[in-house]
Symmetry: C2
Subunit: 428 residues, 2 copies
């Protein structure tokens, strides 16, 4: 029969195992972020390559592919290091499902590239495909952020996810702007989408700022204060406010692309710092937890089987002495701890319970910031199932409804979910 002390140690070991898995997860998130960055670049190059009918960036595209392949191998290796057998990962089922999806996407990447080589797809189709793949990679980071059990690490993972997602919106914004300027003519649809991407990325970066350390915040703000940003804001104004169907200066396409690229590249330095902070925090927490466990080990080596005197249990915290005459005889079981040790074991148990509770509460607060995305994802899933839409179509439907009604995407998603009961039962 296991004693209370054994369960106390088991609780600590649980924390340590979770932190060990978080180390692996942190490395995975770092590798994923790097691959996303490289794929964003490949997407941009492919876009121009296809748009120029193969005249531009042919060589740079091939080089970028090699870089992507190298980073893809690192991501696959990080996936392999996850403990799929032990079930020690918080939301293993969700994380592994996302990984399954993304691996299928990576498997399909050579085929996509071959179609691009043969110029057998339009720039828009290529962009859509890369967005889908990068979206899958970001979903892996999202689940990693949602699985952390340490509030501090969770904060950084949430900051990381939002940073990567914001950066991806910035990349999509670059593509939309390039397309619009290059066409030489404003189009209301694309302009709406552009405004949506600006809004979406700003909200992501706001969450990042809320959760990042002061150092990172400073680095981010410094990176967003340069001349490139002023250029971007000017070009955004020109591109977004031109009347529908009115002329746009096609010569602005290149400066827009360059300014966006400079901004996105500057983001990568922040991202690298964030990933390094994350790994350092994982290491620190793990070292602390292991040292705490060692410092409690002497209790385990006690000759007692862990039974505790009633007086110690039912009166843990030192209290004013009882009035004379009320003093009770203490019945100490054979082999019990000394009263001093018993008190310290019980204080340890209570201290640990309270610490874990406080952590749970803090964690819930951090994770609440992920709920918005979950609502949108769930509303999309509902639309896909009930209206036979693709994911992209479902997303577009939500986004367009939000634009038409001037409501936030998450509010539309909530409205869709609130109506879920009115929809026909989903077939299984």
């Amino acid at each position: 029969m296991k004693s209370g002390l054994k369960f106390l140690v088991a609780a600590r070991q649980c924390e340590i195992r979770e932190l060990e898995q978080l180390m692996v997860t942190g490395a995975l998130v770092q590798a994923t972020g790097r691959l996303v960055h490289a794929l964003q670049k490949e997407r941009g190059l492919t876009n121009v390559f296809l748009g120029s009918r193969g005249l531009r960036f042919g060589e740079a595209r091939l080089q970028q592919r090699t870089e992507c392949d190298r980073l893809e191998a690192a991501v696959r290796a990080a996936f392999d290091r996850l403990d799929t057998e032990g079930g020690r990962i918080g939301n293993g089922a969700r994380l592994f499902s996302r990984i399954a999806y993304v691996l299928h996407g990576l498997d399909a990447l050579p085929g996509l590239r071959a179609r691009a080589d043969a110029q057998a797809l339009s720039p828009a189709e290529a962009i859509r495909a890369y967005i889908q793949l990068i979206g899958g990679l970001l979903a892996v980071v999202f689940e990693a952020a949602d699985s952390a059990t340490d509030p501090g690490i969770s904060r950084l993972l949430v900051a990381m996810f939002n940073f990567l997602q914001g950066k991806e919106f910035a990349g999509q914004e670059r593509a939309v702007g390039v397309g619009l300027f290059a066409a030489g003519r404003a189009a209301g649809d694309a302009q709406q989408q552009w405004l949506h991407l600006i809004d979406a990325q700003e909200r992501c970066f706001q969450v990042f700022v809320d959760f990042a350390t002061a150092d990172l915040r400073g680095q981010w703000q410094a990176s967003q204060a340069g001349a490139a940003i002023a250029d971007i804001e000017r070009l955004r104004r020109i591109g977004c406010t031109a009347p529908d169907g009115g002329p746009l200066d096609a010569g602005l396409s290149q400066p827009w692309f360059d300014a966006c690229t400079a901004r996105i590249d500057a983001m990568q330095a922040v991202e690298a710092q964030l990933a390094a902070d994350l790994l350092r925090m994982c290491e620190g927490r793990l070292a602390q937890a292991r040292s705490d466990l060692r410092s409690h080990q002497h209790l385990l080596q006690s000759p007692s089987d862990g039974r505790v005197d009633e007086g110690a249990f039912f009166d843990v915290v030192p209290r004013a002495p009882d009035p004379p005459g009320a003093a009770a005889p203490r019945v100490t079981p054979a082999g019990g701890y000394g009263p001093q040790l018993e008190r310290s074991v019980l204080e340890l148990v209570q201290e640990q319970s309270q610490r874990l509770q406080a952590m749970g509460h803090e964690l819930a607060t951090v994770r609440a910031s992920l709920d918005e995305r979950k609502l949108v994802e769930r509303a999309k899933g509902l639309l896909m199932a009930h209206r036979q839409l693709t994911e992209e179509e479902a997303h577009k439907m939500l986004r367009q409804t939000a634009m038409q009604q001037s409501r936030r995407l998450v509010d539309v998603a909530e409205a869709v979910l609130a109506m879920a009961d009115l929809l026909p039962e989903r077939p299984r």
Copy 2:
């Protein structure tokens, strides 16, 4: 290197492992509920035994102890069956900490009983000790409810926790009423506490009703419609509305005790049904998940290594055909699935992701009902740490503040937590 398919299967296996642990947890909750019920009875008998200076219930108390010992052994066995090594339990750290606490309490129970035998403690001290031990057992059930990853099972666990907690408040109400009637004189303090216990139990039973199945709801409502309830309401009115210091009929002590006991015993039938439903649901879910996994096994036995054609990935759901000329050459890697199978693998991946997301959302909704208790627990912990209070004193302080300000306990707890930053740093 693991393929996407391997991760898909790993995700399913995660779900199965979690469900297996939920089976163990369900059995643990059932055993814990039975022990709580028996300890509540032992508490009542001990109260009368001590109050009568050992004249009444001496024999019944010894018999009840034997029953408690038997049920305690079952609970310890259920604790032992938990997988403390594998780390497969959702919030293992919190659950194991609670178990460590409660095991120390159970170890201390013989000492408490010996003090009662020697009549070396007052009825109030004995009641307080049993409340502490039962509270520890209920905290285990609470963590079990908070660890479930299946929304349906989580609903029943939340219903179970609230039912047990409501029943415990009913038990405490019985003791307060017995004490007050037996004293023959009304006391404002005790009356306030009595009203608090009525309010607290009603809120617990409301959550139970919200989360229970229709059958259980019906059984509960039927159990609450008898003549005993009318008696209880009448005696509550007499006891709670008597002016502070005014006389009370001591002869009502026995009818009050009997009516409460009849009500609490009737609750146990509902509890047994709830526990049985819980285990049945666990079994059902597990059987379903295993059968789903088997039905996917043929995919794993496919000769392919799991690579998927690009066309299948980037265009999962059947769509309207592309305009002529836009059709792309399909590059199928050697050894790939047939296009039909590829589609079904990808649909499976997406279906699984969406199902898990919907489950996560539902789960969050169910667990939100646990947040109230978490806030109160955390506020208590804060007061204990910063004001050097025992748990009981901290709880009393919260409760009295709530009474004085006519606010809900949870609102006071929130106010305390909101002020946390103003309190001095907690020493570690």
